[in-house]
Amino acid sequence: MNILSILNEALSWILILSGAFFVLIGAIGTVRFPDFWSRLHAASVSDSAGIILLFLGMAMQAGFSLIAVKLAIIGAFLFITGPTATHATANAALVSGLRPKEAEGLTAAEPSHKSKNSKKDPHKIKGVKP
């Protein structure tokens, strides 16, 4: 075991452990935060930092191999699907009528006069005729 492989081992374990730490933080935040909207934010900690660090650590464990390529591809997919899923969840909550609690002195940007009069369906898929 030479010095490089020890260094690689140490660094990859630091990355994996800190990734696990951020996943844990996300879980703690999901429990501690008071409502739906704030919990979404807590979950995105494990979605971003947790995933990036865990995948970097695992790729270092795998070395330059097919497994590292697979990890990179899975990571890239998660990088796109994670925020998309979060957005879909938040959007579904908004459309079904759940509103975030605004902090004191702030008002939501939603143009409320539009919600009554607008006849356009905001979720119509472009280019597909019903």
Binding site: I25, A42, S48, L106, S115, P122
Partner: protein, 197 residues
């Protein structure tokens, strides 16, 4: 019943033929896509026995057929109006932003009394192409502390604006999101709006 199934299969084959006849460019694209999918299969599987590679060939053919059918329905293509080098530069910058935002939210989660200042606000979007807008919206969601809630203009937002929810809103937030938008636009190729419409 059986003859109707056979008929519909033939009808679909006819549709594919008709689509392919529209131009040899579409043909070439399809072949390249199939080859890329086959390459991905070989890379992912790592087992090169005749049976498993055969499964790969069957899957690729099936997916190509389904894709051809879907193109007949809407022809909704992804236009990649992004400069590759600028894209990677942006990703590097985004990593830094994600790290900073993660640290802020982590400190918030671990602090004895949570500091929440939730706010829903609209941010202007100047990116033109679909892909750049998706990049922008996903970047906002990827940075902990902010989530894109609505992107389609309609009941909740006006055109050219995204609705964003912030966990701990500060007055600097709109400026930092505008900075992100500016950087996304810097990745776009010039006249990106033409193909996206």
């Amino acid at each position: 019943m059986r003859s109707r199934t056979i008929h519909s299969v033939f009808h679909n084959l006819y549709l594919i033929e008709e689509y392919a006849a529209q131009g040899s460019g579409a043909d070439l694209k399809r072949i390249i896509t199939a080859l890329a999918m086959m390459g991905l299969w070989l890379l992912m599987s790592g087992i090169y026995e005749p049976m498993l590679v055969g499964y790969g060939v069957v899957s690729v053919l099936l997916v190509s057929w389904v894709m051809a059918r879907m193109d007949r329905v809407d022809g909704d293509l992804l236009h990649w109006h992004i400069k590759p080098f600028a894209f990677f530069k942006y990703q590097a910058w985004l990593m830094g932003e994600i790290a900073k935002a993660n640290w802020v939210v982590t400190r918030n989660i671990l602090s004895p009394n949570l500091h929440l200042r939730q706010h829903m606000f609209a941010v202007p979007v100047t990116a033109e192409s679909d892909i750049a807008q998706v990049m922008f919206a996903n970047s906002i969601t990827l940075t902990p502390g902010t989530i894109t809630i609505e992107t389609e203009p309609g009941r909740f937002t006006e055109p050219g604006r995204f609705l964003v929810h912030a966990l701990d809103y500060t007055d600097a937030d709109p400026a930092s999101i505008a900075e992100m938008d500016r950087r996304v636009v810097a990745c776009e190729t010039a006249r990106a709006g033409e193909g996206a419409a």
